[in-house]
Amino acid sequence: MIGASPEDMAVAVNHLAAEGGGQVAVEDGRVVEFLPLPIGGIVSDLDPTEMRAAEERLDRAAKALGCRVDWPFMYLFFLPITSIPDYAITDVGPVDVAAMAVFDPVLGPAAK
């Protein structure tokens, strides 16, 4: 999950939970693109050419939202992995990979 609006992030999560998983792009409270992945939330029976078209629609939707990386959803696959890179974002919180411990991302008052 990457977002600039907590409200839209909640819409995205609730949509995925209700649909049994997938990939979604949300703008202003509205689901603008959705790829259902109904098997375990990560797998689909779609024909590969249909899957490719859906992947491209999602990438276009993310770019329309202002994302500047080429394959935003691919990067999301990496975020929960607690082996690379140095930090991960998981269901139990942000994880320091080297220490293998959850950490508080708020370090302290900002330097003046």
Binding site: M1, G3, P6, E7, M9, A10, V13, N14, L16, A17, A18, E19, G20, G21, P38, I39, G40, G41, D45, L46, P48, T49, M51, R52, E55, E56, R68, V69, D70, W71, F73, M74, Y75, F77, F78, L79, I84, P85, D86, Y87, I89, P94, F103, D104, P105, V106, L107, G108, P109, A110, A111
Partner: protein
């Protein structure tokens, strides 16, 4: 991964080339790591020419468009050939070497008696485009298109349906702190295009 087949890149190749321990290296090809794979193979074998039969391929982090546009293990064969690996050595990296590393070469990895008849036909070993594919002795694809019917297997109800969870709210995506009001310093992850494993 087992201790026989690991995927750290160059150091394992060099170790395998010295052949003092039964180390093997598995080279990944994926959307985000494909860029470096061919270079890793070339560098590794330059340092350890004897390591060729200890190197095998696997894929990682590929999506449908990668497989359709660039290929799967066939793309890794093409990349290896392009990096200067002999075509037959590259084919071994995609077939026999991996089967031996995982000790399943009595079932797969070569065309020989007693193995599953999984065979890829190509017109050109260097270009390595499949013109026909056999799986377990049956022709399943010709000229880039599936000819066999694929039936999805039955799936447990545990794998499908809505996720049992309380609805998320916007507050769930805010970070709370006990600090007094005012600006704070936070640890953030930066995202750089084309980069996967640097410190962020």
């Amino acid at each position: 991964m087992t201790d026989r087949a690991s995927r750290p890149p160059i150091s394992t190749l060099v170790t395998a080339g010295r052949a003092r321990i039964p180390a093997t290296a598995v080279i990944r090809g994926g959307r985000l790591v494909n860029v470096v794979s061919a270079e890793i193979i070339r560098l590794g074998l330059e340092h350890a020419p004897g390591a060729s039969r200890r190197v095998s391929f696997c894929t990682d982090d590929v999506v449908a468009s990668d497989v359709l546009d660039r290929g799967h293990l066939d793309n890794m064969v093409r990349m290896a050939v392009e990096a200067g690996i002999e075509p037959m050595a590259a084919v071994q990296m995609a077939t026999l070497n991996g089967a031996e590393a995982y000790r399943v070469d009595h079932l797969v990895g070569s065309i020989s008696p007693g193995r599953y008849a999984d065979v890829v036909f190509v017109d050109d070993l260097r270009d390595f485009r499949a013109s026909m594919v056999m799986a377990a002795g049956e022709i399943v694809a010709r000229d880039g298109a599936l000819t066999a019917d694929l039936e999805p297997p039955g799936r447990s109800g545990l794998l499908t349906g809505p996720f049992p969870m309380a609805p998320a709210a916007a507050d769930d995506f805010s970070v709370a702190t006990e600090l007094p009001d005012g600006p704070v310093e936070v640890l953030a992850i930066g995202l750089t295009d084309q980069t996967t494993t640097t410190s962020w």
